[in-house]
């Protein structure tokens, strides 16, 4: 079916002149329905826009003006956050926003398409917030706009071609869970319309998305069959080709947990069940995984001059990236990048340290696009930045890792290690370590690290000794503590650092750092991280400076500056409520502020408030169940939570992964391990008695749900 017939360009509609006189006003009138666009008044707004602008040549001034006007209009709405309007007007405004997004994909407006993609994190935090405020589902329109424009955006600007792939996979996995079931089709649409990959059949990404949905959501066989048969109809292949593709898809590590019945159905449907997979001819277009010998060889040469080994490293990584692109299997890329990156940083002369750091950063960033949930990559990135001399950025990356992985004490310890390398930051290092000890009482590594810091701190050696003695009292076999104590007792004097530590690095100083960090960054990837890291550092400082009026004032200023850029950041709004005091839960819910509402409900220990938050944000239910166990000793919630903890984790969202790990840590601390969940009463008592669980709930809920860092 031809788009825009051969008689283009058509005579333009008279309203186009009105629009060109004032594009901003013209667009607002079009979206609100006021524009005089007879005979298209009854059309949906995007369809009307297509009839008005679609007949014009691609570079017609009206189309260019529309491209700019739509982006400006959407950005203004984004900065407004959630419209404060009565029900009917609110729904109408959200429909207008959806129509504006749709106009971008329908008319293929290049600048707006690139901006919606490039600043994914900012747009997504807004549409997520709107989704929480109830009303027409703006988020679904934004996502389908991204899906339909990803090839256009990729052709217009230098973007990561496959940057949205993890987002689409995640949507498939969460469809029917934390996202509405209909989102499966948006995720699959996104995978189907990914930019073409050389040597990879274009059916592979959506088949992996379908398989991941089946693995996580475990649909009934007939539901799976309906999805599969419909899409299969659109991709003519011979039976032999389908056998190969299905067999290869099911070989993927990420779908190894697919229900047996679905596995059997799928193989059976394409005839692969009768034919051993070993007989399936390997498609010519498949490439082998990266050579392990080559990786071992380059690891062994890590100490050689960087200029000699870097071309070979880049070649190996490119090969692994290529394999990931073709097969969707990123395991080799990520592990190779981490191993090679870490070895690079451990080896070589001091003179090459910055260069090695730079290469390690390159490897880490490439890997994070594929597996943003891998903590080792975050460590590599942070260490690479430190080696490069970018200490402030390294610190913020460290804080962002703490925010994203709150259940992992190693993220905190490693950040403290980085801070303790600068005497001026010893205060912060100490505060972070003490907080970590409180949050993870059984973690001896943190205690030893604190003792090490205190031992270097002139005048505080005795505190280090006392701490080490306490560690050894609890565990006389702790060799690390024993050696530290021996060294301390036999040392004539602690080697004083080159400069005495300056007083507490408080909020005022943090603002100075921020002025630097607030420089406009044209790197959305880094901006996402720095913004998240700043917020987590601020959260820590608010906690450490609690009660200080000056600190609160400075923190308010900082939050204002963060909210100016992204007024929809759930975390920033939570921080705002921490400083200003939480508004009424009803008010926060109407604004879609999940974080602030949940924290307020937990702190108020009010079952009605918790119910209200759950009504507005029903997923993830595990969070609410655990809150009811901790706060109200709710037996039914405890039974559900115990069943969840007993089940295997498959495709859970980051906050739920964090919560699961937190609770397992608490169970381990109680020395009852998983057997405890068989005894519901004991489980309830343990959870309710542990003060850390309340913070576990808050930190898990505020861990970013969206792992995509930039598109």
């Amino acid at each position: 079916m031809a788009l825009a017939g051969s008689d283009l360009p058509q005579r333009q509609h008279p309203w186009i002149d009105t629009f060109l006189e004032n594009p901003a006003e013209g667009l607002a009138d079009l979206l609100s329905g006021y524009a005089r666009i007879e005979p298209y008044v009854s059309a949906e707004r995007p369809d009307a826009a297509r009839m008005l602008f679609g007949r014009l040549a691609t570079h017609h001034e009206a189309r260019t003006a529309l491209d700019d006007a739509v982006l400006i209009w959407l950005n203004d709405r984004r900065l407004e956050g959630v419209p404060a309007l009565a029900a009917g007007a609110f729904e109408r405004k959200l429909r207008e926003i959806m129509d504006a997004f749709r106009i971008v994909s329908l008319l293929e407006l290049p600048n707006a398409a690139v901006a919606l993609r490039k600043h994914y994190v900012l747009w997504k935090s807004w549409v997520d917030r709107l989704a929480g405020a109830k009303g027409p589902d703006v988020r679904s329109e934004y996502l389908s706009t991204l899906a339909l424009t990803q090839r256009l955006a990729g052709a217009q600007a230098k973007l990561n071609r496959l940057g949205l792939e993890p987002c689409w996979i995640s949507i498939c996995e969460q469809a029917g869970g934390s996202l509405p079931a209909s989102y499966l089709h948006i995720g699959l649409l996104g995978l189907r319309f990914l930019p073409e990959r050389q040597d990879m059949p274009n059916d592979r990404p959506w088949m992996i998305g379908l398989a991941r949905w089946a693995t996580v959501r475990r649909p009934r066989t007939d539901d799976f069959a309906r999805q599969w048969l419909a899409l299969k109809r659109l991709y003519p292949r011979t039976p032999a080709q389908w056998r190969i593709v299905v067999t290869e898809t099911l070989k993927q590590r990420s779908v190894s947990g697919i229900p047996i019945a679905l596995d059997a159905y799928w193989r059976g449907e394409v005839g692969a069940a009768d034919q051993p997979t070993v007989n399936a001819r390997t498609p010519k277009r498949t490439i082998p995984p990266p050579s392990l010998d080559a990786i071992q060889h380059i690891l062994a040469r890590a100490a050689e001059p960087l200029r000699k080994i870097s071309p070979e490293i880049r070649r190996i990584i490119a090969e692994a990236a290529r394999y990931a692109e073709v097969t969707g299997e990123s395991h080799y890329l990520v592990r190779t990048a981490c191993n090679v990156g870490m070895r690079l940083l451990e080896s070589g002369p001091q003179s090459e340290r910055a260069g090695r750091g730079k290469l390690a950063i390159e490897l880490a960033r490439q890997s994070l696009l594929w597996q943003p949930e891998d903590v080792l990559i975050w460590a590599l990135w942070r260490d690479g930045l430190e080696a490069e001399g970018e200490l402030e950025v390294a610190e913020l990356v460290g804080w962002e890792a703490v925010r994203r992985f709150p259940e992992d004490p190693q993220r905190r310890n490693q950040l403290a290690l980085l801070l303790s390398k600068t005497p001026a930051r010893w205060d912060d290092a100490e505060a972070l370590l003490r907080e970590t000890i409180k949050r993870f009482p059984g973690n001896v590594v943190t205690q030893n690290q604190l003792a090490q810091l205190l031992a270097r701190w002139p005048g505080r050696e005795h505190q280090a000794k006392t701490l080490l003695q306490d560690i050894l009292h609890a565990d006389p076999d702790d060799e690390v503590a024993r050696k530290q104590l021996d060294r301390l007792e036999h040392a004539h004097a602690a080697s004083a650092p080159s400069g005495a530590p300056r007083p507490s690095h408080g909020l005022a100083e943090a603002l100075a750092d921020l002025a630097e960090a607030h420089k406009p960054l044209d790197d959305p990837f880094l901006r996402t991280i720095l913004s998240g890291g700043r917020m987590r550092r601020l959260a820590a400082r608010i906690a450490w400076n609690k009660g200080t009026a000056n600190g609160a004032h400075a923190a308010q200023a900082e939050i204002r500056s963060i909210l100016e850029e992204n007024p929809n950041s759930d975390y920033a709004r939570y921080l705002q409520s921490e400083i200003q005091g939480a508004p009424a839960i009803e008010a926060t819910l109407s604004l879609g502020d999940f974080g602030a509402a949940l924290v307020a409900a937990i702190r108020q220990r009010d079952p009605k408030a918790l119910n209200a938050v759950e009504d507005a944000f029903p997923d993830p239910s595990q969070l609410f169940d655990m809150a009811r166990v901790a706060l109200f000793k709710d037996v039914a919630a405890a039974q559900r939570a115990a069943a969840w903890l007993s089940a295997r984790s498959v495709g859970e969202m980051r906050p739920i992964v964090a919560l699961r790990k937190f609770i397992n840590i608490r169970l381990d601390q109680a020395d009852r391990e998983m057997t405890l969940i068989d005894d519901i009463d004991a489980f309830i008592e343990m959870v309710a008695a542990n003060d850390n669980v309340e913070l576990d709930l808050i930190e898990a809920a505020l861990a970013p749900w969206d792992l995509v860092l930039a598109a």
Partner: protein, 265 residues
């Protein structure tokens, strides 16, 4: 209710804008029962309608196909076949059209009676013929062909589905000027006719050319509703709007036997 919503009106433009506001916020709404089907619009309720009667709607398939990533040719081909994969593909599109929040559907549907459109349906260019008879001026292929689907269902299906919707006062009603934004193509119908009559896109010559039209709540579609698929690829033939409007008015006067109804332009 409409009058209460209006507030002070200073000129024709402010009246037009308030009417648009009313339509957008109280009729085109999914958050509450559209006023179309609320008790305050009971005067437009046509009363009982025999449930076996067939209704027709001409739907644009442009957005459902675009958002599902299915080409018109693939969809038309699947619709013409009955193998499991073809049926699954048609179901796939209809299911998403019904449920995906990013695929637009007005909660208020216009529908006409099939028996009055048999002539148009017998023509090879039935999509354009239906468009013209039903006055669908916005199905204008000025920017490219428009894929359409002919949806056919019984009055009883609408009734049954509406039973599960709370708050509806009536399931069918005659369209009024408040059920859409102010629009030159809309012509009100005298109260003597318990239905609406869309103004055709050509100059009608008698009241036989009028077709009865009703509004009902949006219906969830299934495969059996989709009778045909086609394409609108020819633009509306130019017509003298004044003649079009005045002849439509005369046809309404004849049909309702109210010679004084309305005023010519």
């Amino acid at each position: 209710m409409f009058e209460a919503h209006l507030g002070p009106i200073t000129d024709h433009e402010s009246l037009r804008r308030r009417a648009i506001d009313y339509f957008q916020e109280y009729v085109r709404t999914n958050a509450a029962v559209p006023h179309t089907f609320a008790a305050l619009n009971s005067a437009a309720d046509p009363g009982p309608i025999s449930p076996e009667q067939k209704l027709l709607r001409l739907e644009s398939l442009a957005e459902p196909l675009s958002k599902t990533g299915v080409s018109f040719n693939d969809f038309a081909d699947a619709h013409s076949k009955s193998d499991p994969a073809s049926r699954a593909l048609v179901d796939h599109v209809l299911d998403q059209w019904n449920h995906r929040p990013d695929i637009r559907r007005n909660p208020v549907s216009f529908a006409a009676f099939k028996e009055q459109l048999l002539d148009e349906l017998s023509e090879p260019d039935w999509p354009e013929k239906l468009r013209d008879r039903l006055g669908l001026a916005h199905f204008d292929c000025v920017a490219g062909d428009i894929p359409v689907g002919l949806m056919e269902y019984e009055v009883g299906e609408v009734e049954r589905q509406a039973e599960s919707t709370t708050g509806l006062h009536h399931r069918f009603c005659a369209p009024t000027s408040l059920d859409g934004a102010p629009y030159a193509q809309f012509a009100p119908t005298p109260i003597q006719l318990p239905f609406g009559c869309p103004m055709a896109l050509y100059v009608v010559q008698s009241d036989d050319d009028l077709v009865a039209e009703l509004l009902h709540p949006r219906l969830m579609y299934v495969r059996s509703h989709l009778k045909r698929v086609g394409v609108i690829s020819n633009r509306v033939a130019p017509a003298d709007f004044i003649a079009l409007r005045n002849n439509h008015l005369w046809a309404l006067r004849l049909a309702s036997m109210r010679d004084e109804f309305g005023a010519e332009v």
